[in-house]
């Protein structure tokens, strides 16, 4: 069949055109296109990978931050607790100390009072003794001013002795 026999002319023209297109496109179209497609693809893949990495790092950092926060919170709570305890202990200690001081002072005061009281009492006793002696002297002087009375008294004393 005529249709199945290739014409040499068309064959040659096609070969020339195809090869020309091939060499031109290879140099000026396919290589740059394929190259930039490849570059873009690797670029995108890299960006995605680095984004993933950054995300992961961010996650890690966040976890770390949270941990740090927790620690700080725990620490502050601990510190607060300690401070509270310290305060209480200080107050208690102060209270105890003041109480001790007060007790001591009271005790000292009481002792002093006692001493003073004793001193005053002795003095009073001495005064009273002296007064009594003076009064007794005066009474005796007055009673024994006469001879009769002196006799009477001596008699009485003698009787006392006798009776004993």
């Amino acid at each position: 069949m005529d249709l199945l026999t290739p014409e040499l002319g068309l064959f040659v023209w096609t070969l020339i055109a195809f090869l020309a297109v091939f060499f031109i496109l290879r140099k000026f179209a396919w290589k740059p296109i394929l190259k930039s497609l490849h570059e873009r693809e690797t670029g995108i893949a890299e960006s995605i990978a680095s984004a993933d990495r950054v995300k992961k790092e961010m996650g890690q950092m966040q976890a770390e931050n949270e941990k740090l926060m927790m620690e700080a919170r725990a620490q502050s709570a601990q510190m607060l607790k300690e401070a509270k305890e310290m305060k209480e202990s200080i107050i208690n200690k102060a209270k105890e100390e003041t109480k001790a001081v007060a007790d001591k002072m009271i005790a000292e005061a009481q002792q002093q009072i006692q001493q003073q009281k004793m001193a005053a009492l002795t003095e009073v006793k001495n005064e009273i003794g002296k007064l009594a002696v003076e009064v007794a002297e005066k009474v005796i002087r007055k009673e024994l001013a006469t001879a009769d009375s002196q006799n009477g008294y001596a008699q009485m004393l003698a009787e006392d002795i006798k009776m004993n």
Binding site: D2, L3, E7, W13, F18, L19, V21, I24, W30
Partner: protein
């Protein structure tokens, strides 16, 4: 996985290539019928005007064949066409160049040459010398147009890539082209050629786009039947065959001429078969594209011609057939749009498959291991 894909691809190829051939065969029948009806019509109306007769085969073969004119349309039975330059190599007279208009549509001879119109339009020398016709025919001109288009599109897109840098999103035509390029790379190049695919990408891309754009241009009304011409498909198949031969490695030739692990007696049987199969590959490439595109053109033209065939029988039948014919030809056009891309893809893919076979390294199964071990 790879074999499964290959198998489905082959199945698809087979289905697609057999379908149009089938319709083609059917058409042949129709064509005979048309001839018959025409003959009867001619017989009946023999004493009336004979020019009323519509010769479908002449119209169809005029369209699918090559020509030294680019026929545009008829005005009052006078064809309006572009006369294309004729370039002839004569063994004794040398190269001659003149316009096809000198032939006055085949009515006159010029310079000892004349146009012979059979199934194919041919220039013959009156002295009977074996001349070679290098004319810029309709197909050649159509190809030049497609080449200019292809270069313009691809170079402008490539310029955009260079200008915009790599990390900028594609715009305009770049957007349309990029998925196709990546498709050829990822679905044709990589699976068939392995890690050497980058070496053959320019060829595969050029083959694909060259065939595709020519298929599409051929579908335009008045377009040439370029990819449906066997000289063209033969040329393309030859290019892929030569590339395959030049890149075939020791392993390929070894398996071809000295298949390992085969008894000597079988070798005498196997080697010729393998040798023939080597040449069948490009022939299959050539025939597949040629037959598919040719069949598509013939079917569309036949469907359109039906209007005129029925019109020749009676005016009512002709007008009545218009919607049917139009619907069918529109359907065929859409089908051919698909076929244009699919056949370009199949040609490219089979080229890649053949190349892949030629450059395949030893040990199919532990291919990756062997490679990793060697390097």
């Amino acid at each position: 996985m790879r074999s499964g894909r290959l198998f489905s691809l082959l199945a698809l190829t087979f289905a697609l290539s057999s379908a149009p051939v089938f319709t083609f065969a059917q058409h042949e029948e129709n064509h005979e019928n048309a001839h018959a009806t025409e003959a009867t019509a001619a017989h009946e109306g023999n004493h009336e005007e004979k020019k009323e007769g519509f010769n479908a085969s002449e119209v169809i073969f005029g369209h699918i064949g090559d020509s030294h004119y680019w026929h545009l349309f008829d005005v009052n039975e006078h064809p309006v066409s572009l006369s294309l330059p004729v370039i002839i190599y004569h063994p004794t007279k040398g190269v001659e160049m003149f316009s096809a208009s000198k032939f006055h549509h085949g009515h006159e001879s010029y310079n000892g040459y004349q146009i012979e119109k059979g199934m194919k339009e041919k220039i013959v020398s009156e002295d009977g010398a074996a001349i070679i016709d290098f004319s810029i025919t309709k197909n050649v001109l159509s190809m030049i147009i497609s080449v200019v288009l292809l270069l313009w599109i691809m170079l402008s897109v490539a310029k955009k890539y260079k200008k915009n840098g790599t990390m900028v999103a594609p715009t305009g035509f770049q957007n349309a082209l990029e998925p196709v390029v990546t498709f050829i790379r990822d679905e044709v190049g990589k699976p068939n050629l392995g890690n050497k695919y980058m070496r053959f990408m320019p060829l595969l891309l050029t083959v694909f786009f060259f065939i595709w754009i020519n298929n599409l241009l051929g579908l335009l009304p008045g377009g040439a039947n370029f990819t449906g011409n066997i000289a063209v498909t033969a040329c393309l198949a030859l290019v892929s065959f030569i590339v395959m031969l030049f890149n075939a490695n020791k392993h390929f030739w070894g398996h071809l001429f000295n298949p390992p692990g085969v008894p000597l007696g079988i070798k005498f049987l196997l080697v010729p078969i393998e040798f023939i199969s080597l040449f069948i590959k490009p022939i299959a490439l050539m025939i597949r594209l040629f037959a598919n595109i040719l069949a598509g053109h013939i079917v569309i033209l036949s469907v359109i011609s039906m209007i005129f065939i029925f019109g020749a029988l009676s005016k009512v039948a002709g007008w009545g057939f218009v919607p049917v014919s139009l619907a069918f030809s529109i359907f065929m056009f859409f089908l051919e749009l698909l076929v244009a891309a699919i056949q370009a893809f199949i040609f490219t893919n089979l080229t890649a498959v053949f190349l892949g076979q030629a450059i395949e390294e030893a040990h199919h199964d532990d291919h990756a291991h062997a490679e990793a071990g060697h390097h």
